[in-house]
């Protein structure tokens, strides 16, 4: 079975690229890249503002993907698997919860984001996708799990399409590399080499 990459999305360094073409670029020195991207996309989704940065980033990456591939919204509602990884887990929100805790306060709106997989939930809610998901925590240099598990989900017919990649937001730095993969002979082959190369771009 050959999995081909049918869409690329990357966010970072003040820009958004879809299939390696820049679709949005913020001016140098821009603050709050994620809000700027939101305003450009204008999805009319106020829940965005309750999300932490990790979830905002993942949400926006998939919004761009669905904008490029509107037919993804027409797929069977459990056909799409979300398979993500990052290195810092939810440590940004964890730090915020800890800071508040040091002052004797615990906010449920902060605490709920102290789990990295919440980004999967936000994407699933937005798109009404009831499919498989997995969240791995590890460095960019080791993405074998993302490849092996996504392939096995599709091979075992637990999913037809994978939205897979690295989503990291920590200390104001945002880094997203997502691929759409499916069984097809077109597009670059989805494997550790192609995924690692894309992450290194």
């Amino acid at each position: 079975m050959r999995l081909g990459i049918t869409t690329y999305c990357s966010i970072g360094h003040l820009s958004v690229k879809v299939n390696r073409k820049v679709v949005f670029r913020a001016a140098d020195g821009s603050e709050d890249l994620l809000k700027l991207i939101y305003n450009q996309l204008n999805p009319a989704y106020p829940k965005f503002f309750k999300m932490d940065d990790l979830c905002r980033l993942g949400f926006l990456g998939v919004e761009w993907i669905v904008k490029e591939r509107p037919e993804l919204s027409e797929s069977e509602d459990d056909a799409i698997a979300l398979v993500f990884q990052n290195e810092m887990s939810s440590l940004q929100s964890d730090s915020e919860h800890q800071l508040q805790l040091n002052k004797g306060v615990a906010s449920p709106a902060t605490f709920v984001y102290t789990l990295p997989n919440i980004v999967v939930g936000e994407i699933a809610i937005r798109n009404k996708w009831f499919g498989e998901s997995a969240f791995f925590v590890g460095p960019k240099s080791d993405v074998a799990m993302l490849v092996d598990y996504t392939k096995s989900l599709i091979l075992n017919r637990k999913a037809k399409i994978g939205i897979v990649g690295f989503i990291e937001s920590f200390a104001g730095d945002h880094f997203l590399r997502l691929l759409v993969v499916e069984e097809t002979n077109s597009g670059d082959e989805f494997n550790v080499v192609s995924l690692s190369k894309f992450i290194a771009e």
Binding site: P108, V112, L115, N117, I118, F130, F136, D142, N156, R157
Partner: protein, 366 residues
Amino acid sequence: MIFAGAEHIVSPLGNSAEENFAAIIAGKSGIRKIPCRAGGKEPELFNVAAVRNFGDFPLAQELKKSVTASLEKVDESSLISGKTLFLLSTTKGEITELVKPGVVQAKLDVLRNKVIRDLHWFHSSAVISNACISGLEALIVGHDLIQTGNFDHVVVAGGDMLSEFTLSGFKSFFAISPEPCKPFDKNRAGINLGEGVGTIILSRNEEIFASKPIVFCGGATANDANHISGPSRTGEGLYRAISRALTTCSVRREEIDFFSSHGTGTSYNDEMESIAFARCGMSEIPMNGLKGYFGHTLGAAGIIEAAVCMQSLRNQELIASTGFEEAGTSKPLNVLLSHRKTPFKVLMKTASGFGGSNAAAIFRTE
């Protein structure tokens, strides 16, 4: 076929799966009322399942010991010569490190490296963090990666520790029960947090296990697509996870002899589960929730509770649910009220978690 064995548990109930199972049979619970820090100026008393005192569980060390203990129950040379993966399941890892400046020591990767530092022979390793389904998901991932030929063996370990970080958070959700939890009961009032570690080894090769292993059929996960903390009112994600698990495992619902649910003891979670189980036609199948013995051990729950399920299959003894006195869900459940020695073959384990995640996995005797 893929096998599961060499299960090991560290919890307030003991330092092996056998010791934990014996304690459960004897009617013991790991939950007791002890002083805990929950964000206030002073410690307060909470019902938790602590191995020693609140916040002092040496997670990395106990994970290492558990993995070592499990490896002693298999032919380690087969794992060394074969292609073996190590999977760590945890939600917060050594979260108490976060009170110190800098976040590096709290990274889940750092924990993984500590656990397998002396075990260089693992071909690869990874950390899975998917809220409270992490443990069951790690088992499912491990199964699938053996099935597709990526690996010969997978060592799956899960662990989480009690901490002010977590307790304060759940307290802000009003999710903490003042009393020992009562899964599915009319008067249930929330969760008790717990801590512990567990290890289970998966392999395509039955021969590596010192004792006859259990057959592990794998399973599936699904998202509620509803709310990031509140469960789906229709139990959508759990319903789909169970349905998909039955399909992927080629097991019919009628073949399930018993199931062990997530059963946290909150009003909404248990209600959601009763709806999902009813939609799956499972309302009459005897079932339990194990969190009355261990508390909610988060990233360890899927492993510890699966290990108890494996012991249950080995001993052909069904384990009772705890704290259940009066039915308290809109859909009926066949909650087992006392342990029952009876021949049985097929057991389903489920889990649900924040982020709308749900998982279901199936174990059977050979």
